[in-house]
Amino acid sequence: MPGAPRTFLVNAIILKHMDYGEADRIVTIFSVERGKLRAIARGVRKIRSRKAGHLEPFMHARLFLSQGREWPIITQAQTTDSFDGLRNDLVKIGHASYVVELLERFSSEDGDNPALFHLLLETLNRLEDSEDLFQPTQYFELHMLDLQGFKPELIKCVRCSGVIQPADQFFSAELGGILCPKCGPLVSLSQSVSLEALKYLRHYQRSTYTEAKRAIINDKTRDEMGRLSRYYITFLLERRLNSPDFIKMVDHLRSLPTDQ
């Protein structure tokens, strides 16, 4: 690659890693400068590695890379924020994994997306600090879809373009948005949406996080909002996500009585 720098510095969040060879790891990162990329970290599974502690999932770090033959090689790493609060709580691990899995699946290794990086960083911060994990997760889902070009249409009917009236509606993942009560039954696999869920989905979609989290949403509507976004996301990805099962398992565990 003539002209391309042999070494470069990135401000990145570690998404996941995979063991490779004797003591190496292939690390998937999301950086401000180059978007998603995979890099190799040599010798990080050895106990004396100076980089291992900076390359765990969810960590925000500055990485120095050199262009290798197949993958860039991580030569130096320095943690900016280790998100310790996320790591010490199973529920938070589940939600952070979900956010990271979503971003990993929806992004490709073809260029930078600073807005998406900042959304991820802010979401990890919010998950670490907040008790209510629904708010940061739901906000991330809707805004990530927007940034990646899959923003669901929630204002007009995607079939007849009619303005949505204040009543229960339908949602079609295939058409990418809301359907009015007339068009809804005509589209196969459309799901019904309550007015309440639609109202809050719109609110989350167009507000800042500070405004969005002010809304007090009951559990039933939260479930519906989560189910609807999950349905839309699964349709777009054409496969199931792994982390929702983990979140469900942890929630189930928490609901069990402590003395068996």
Binding site: I47, G53, S82, R87, E104, N242
Partner: protein
């Protein structure tokens, strides 16, 4: 030769004789081995004296035929013995149980000669992103083992990584009901390392786990 093979023949790499090609392909399936290394290994074996190749064949067969998992701790053992050497050793402390990710971790801990209790091998760690849940690990047999009631202390020795921590947190929740002592391996600085290069996480844990110097 069918017509497709014939048509593409000039563009294909010159092929190896079939037995050698099969060996190269078998090596390529091993983790961390690419086509070049696979070819190098195959040619080494082709040129090596016969006993070298025969030993390899016998070792491979023996690994698949003669080994199994210990019915108590799931460490690797001879298929003829239901219990591994550690579980059948009566001189070991049977009230202490160390939980590790892989059989190789048992070896590492045994080399320290500092632990004389029993082990339980999970054969993996929880990984929400990769979809590895408790049912994919040997957690149910662990809980059954705990219900017998002999274990008084459990040492969670999963790796100090996000997945290892998640597994330890999950096991802690599961084991709380047994009212036993639950400990986690300490985290700190490796022997002979440099403070300057330690990450904040390790260094802060090393500080909080500091020990008083006595004597």
């Amino acid at each position: 030769m069918d017509w497709v093979t014939w048509a593409y023949k000039p563009f294909c790499m010159p092929s190896l004789p079939e037995p050698l090609q099969n060996l190269v392909e078998s090596f390529e399936r091993l983790p961390g081995i690419g086509p070049k290394t696979a070819a190098r290994l195959a040619f080494f074996l082709f040129n090596a004296p016969e006993p070298v190749a025969r030993n390899l064949v016998e070792s491979l067969q023996s690994v698949k035929q003669d080994l199994g998992f210990c019915s108590a701790c799931f460490n690797i053992t001879l298929a003829t013995n239901p219990l591994c050497e550690i579980c059948s050793d009566e001189s070991r402390n049977s009230t202490s149980l160390c939980i590790v990710e892989e059989p190789l971790d048992v070896l590492a801990l045994e080399r320290t000669n500092a632990y004389h209790g029993l082990y339980h091998v999970l054969h993996g760690v929880l990984s929400p992103i990769d979809g590895i849940g408790p049912d994919d690990l040997k957690i149910q047999p662990l809980l059954e083992r705990m219900r017998i009631g002999k274990i008084k202390e459990v040492i969670l020795a999963t790796n100090p990584s996000m997945e290892g921590d998640a597994t330890a947190l999950f096991l802690q929740q599961q084991l709380l009901t047994f009212g036993i002592k639950i400990t986690r391996l300490a985290r700190g600085l490796p022997v002979g390392s440099d403070l300057e290069y330690a990450d904040q996480n390790t260094l802060s844990r090393a500080l909080s786990g500091r020990q008083e110097m006595t004597g």
